[in-house]
Amino acid sequence: MNLTLILFYVLAVAAVATATGLLLSRNSVYAALFLVLNFATVAIFYLLLGAPFIALVQVTVYAGAIMVLFLFVIMLLGAEKLPRGQVLPWQRPLAIGLAALLLVEAGFLLYQRLQTTAILAAPGAELNTTATLQTLGMALFNQYLLPFEVTSILLLVAMIGAIVLTKQVKGEQA
């Protein structure tokens, strides 16, 4: 039981707690803030896993851009809360049951592989995955050049799509 392990457990509890907060909070602003906290804890997980670049990108992109966009839309629409009411009464118990089943399966999978595969029991020897910007960049622009370019096209398409979807047709009221 060393310091890192304690840190890990604290973070794990925080991650699950914030996810629960997202799941249960009635107000969508609070839900969004819980999700931001969740992203932050996951970013610290990334730091623990020796991926500082991904951690910081996680904070910048998810927390800094995506979630701000969510907040923006929530506030813009003024749709923090929905009135109570349930159209599909059987949906909730069924969903919870299935999710529990999924969790059991995942646990079983982890347990089973823990028995058979050594690598899951303990991570490999001291590794050098401290991905510096250079190595990541080299991999990104050599091995993954095509996906990278495709991503840029994807972003462009998304941008155009967002603009077209939200553009007001002339004469139409908001």
Partner: protein, 105 residues
């Protein structure tokens, strides 16, 4: 980097699995379209965590690069998705997904 020292990989995977399940649950039981959307993000995030953990375990960079691509894709998805929500809100004046059950706008 002795930081990982005592933490087993399965710990990260367990957290990832729990987060994923909660995200899926969020998609299924919430009616607010924006929260459903955020739950999807949570699921993606859980997957990312697993990617990075495996990347660390197998000592390869590919996992981190996948995370990079997942982030880009989810950014694109959020842009379009939020635009859709705004467009739907304009016509329905609500973001309750249960009210979007007809094909006619």
């Amino acid at each position: 980097m002795g930081v990982l020292g005592g933490i087993p990989l399965s710990g990260f995977l367990a957290v990832s699995a729990i987060l994923f399940t909660m995200g899926a649950l969020g998609v299924l039981i919430r009616r607010n379209a924006i929260i459903i959307f955020m739950s999807v993000e949570l699921m993606l995030n859980a997957a990312n965590l697993a990617f990075v953990a495996f990347a660390r375990a197998y000592n390869v960079l590919n996992g981190q690069l996948f995370v990079f691509f997942v982030m880009t894709v989810s950014a694109a998805e959020v842009a379009v998705g939020l635009a859709l929500i705004v467009a739907i809100f304009r016509s329905k004046h609500s973001i309750d997904v249960d009210q979007m059950s007809s094909l006619k706008g």
